[in-house]
Symmetry: C2
Amino acid sequence: MSGLNIAVVGATGAVGREFIAILQKSKLEVKKLTLFASSASEGKEIAFLGEKIKVQPLRIGAFKGIDLAFFTAGSQISKEWASAAIAENALVIDNSSAFRMDKDIPLVVPEINIETAKKHKGIIANPNCSTIIFLLGIYPIYKKYGVERGAVATYQAVSGAGARAIEELKQQLALTMVKRKIKTEVFPHQIAHNVLAKCGEPAERGNTTEEEKLRNETRKILADENIVISSTCVRVPVFRAHSIAATLELSREFNIDDIRKLIEDTPFLTLEDKLKSDVYPMPINYSNKTDVGVGRIRKAEIFENGLSLWIVGDQLLRGAAYNALRIAEELYG
Amino acid sequence: MSGLNIAVVGATGAVGREFIAILQKSKLEVKKLTLFASSASEGKEIAFLGEKIKVQPLRIGAFKGIDLAFFTAGSQISKEWASAAIAENALVIDNSSAFRMDKDIPLVVPEINIETAKKHKGIIANPNCSTIIFLLGIYPIYKKYGVERGAVATYQAVSGAGARAIEELKQQLALTMVKRKIKTEVFPHQIAHNVLAKCGEPAERGNTTEEEKLRNETRKILADENIVISSTCVRVPVFRAHSIAATLELSREFNIDDIRKLIEDTPFLTLEDKLKSDVYPMPINYSNKTDVGVGRIRKAEIFENGLSLWIVGDQLLRGAAYNALRIAEELYG
């Protein structure tokens, strides 16, 4: 193939912009890049490989000639437009939650289950950001020792709620510094100097949608209906990397040095685990990185084979845009 | 008794100031208040009931005539000076970790084990702030259903690291807004827009001191050597209330409505648990409150009788100064 025609739906959003930025450095040969966004963004230009590309609104026939369409404009847009893209022979990689739990649609973290991507029927779903980061952090451990269950607490950056959420935190920080009244538009409450124990919307089991995604997508991606994840997903006033405290029950006995070695030997993970020297992963250090950081590795007494660890990754990049790009690279590279 | 002579050691610190503020509204009759701080604070004046009281450095004989000395100047000062205070017949309520795990010294949350305070031999230890807030949040559940074990993740305010830590966060927020270089003095890394997976210092089991306190102090306060708490204690850029995500295994079957009713019926707890209306406890709302907020109550699949909940409380007040004052009120009120 002499290059791909690629489209991004949601090009002006936080994940869309990230995808366009990393696509420039990708080994994929891009013949043409087409950018779609809502009519509110019409006329905006986005730089790509020295060119300025105008953003267009979606329309019937928009996907003609497109090989690969990356959707990141929310579930509603994906539900409305993905079938049009498929009908026009584009492969859809969808970053929304619209199709993730559909049995016929692969849900893919390339480092874990790329083989499922190859069986796609036109749509491949990109998993939830916290789930990607969590699963990458535990994956070598899962493979070698098995994981029976886990209690997870997240420290999620505002970027997970989109570009407007990043702006909202910035504005609230500026206004609270001078004791001015703040506005809340994206989040229901002030996020500056605060934490919100709700990511997403109310869902099953008293959980939020985010907590249900961690539970359900973990099972689907690992193809393991027995693993049980109970989580509390929390928004913190951090800009763009998510952190996760996980306490796991492994299926077999283990020793901590071997866990450290497993992490160290895994290409997409960075081991940062020297408590005495204050070395542990931090969100400010993982912003704009594709590696996931793992630290605070220790036995957890509450389980017979209990393990606690701390996982940090860039939500926009590793938890969204880079995962999608890696899927495309695996399929077309 | 016609009023108490009370001393505060560490009067200019974050918890010391809080204690002095709430002592003014207490039912304790204060005959005289004496304020001690390091020589760096010498000459400073602190308002108390319309008077201005000069801060003094500690000296031999400082505790003569003092009935009750509240120590909140760190472990080192407590170790050096508590015995002098006892020798001069003062009762010491110590907010440091110096004596908490000493078998002969009661470790007291008044709402849980005030009877142990009455057996003191001169010192009563005030527990760790996260432990107080966590235990108050789970106590009515523990009493009725028992708690076998729990996985805990904290979202701790900077106030837990003292008055200078609060200033450091403020300065870092101001400097990062204008893209200036920040200083790190109290915390080893930037805390603005970041989270730090280390509270306290390295300790046993790969845990930090804070994580060990949650484990050990919980056992001592509940007088329950079997309860197992595995925690990850994390500093977040919040000013003064701690939040806690807890996933517990109860000893018996329960239903969620009964748990909600237990929380609602407990005088020192506030139930905030309406996810659909975005009602859950938040640190900005619990700053300057003595109640502990509980919400996000739901079954946790990872245990047979699993329960997840979210607990928030003011670290300086409920987690330190107010707990100490309540002990004094119970003993002298």
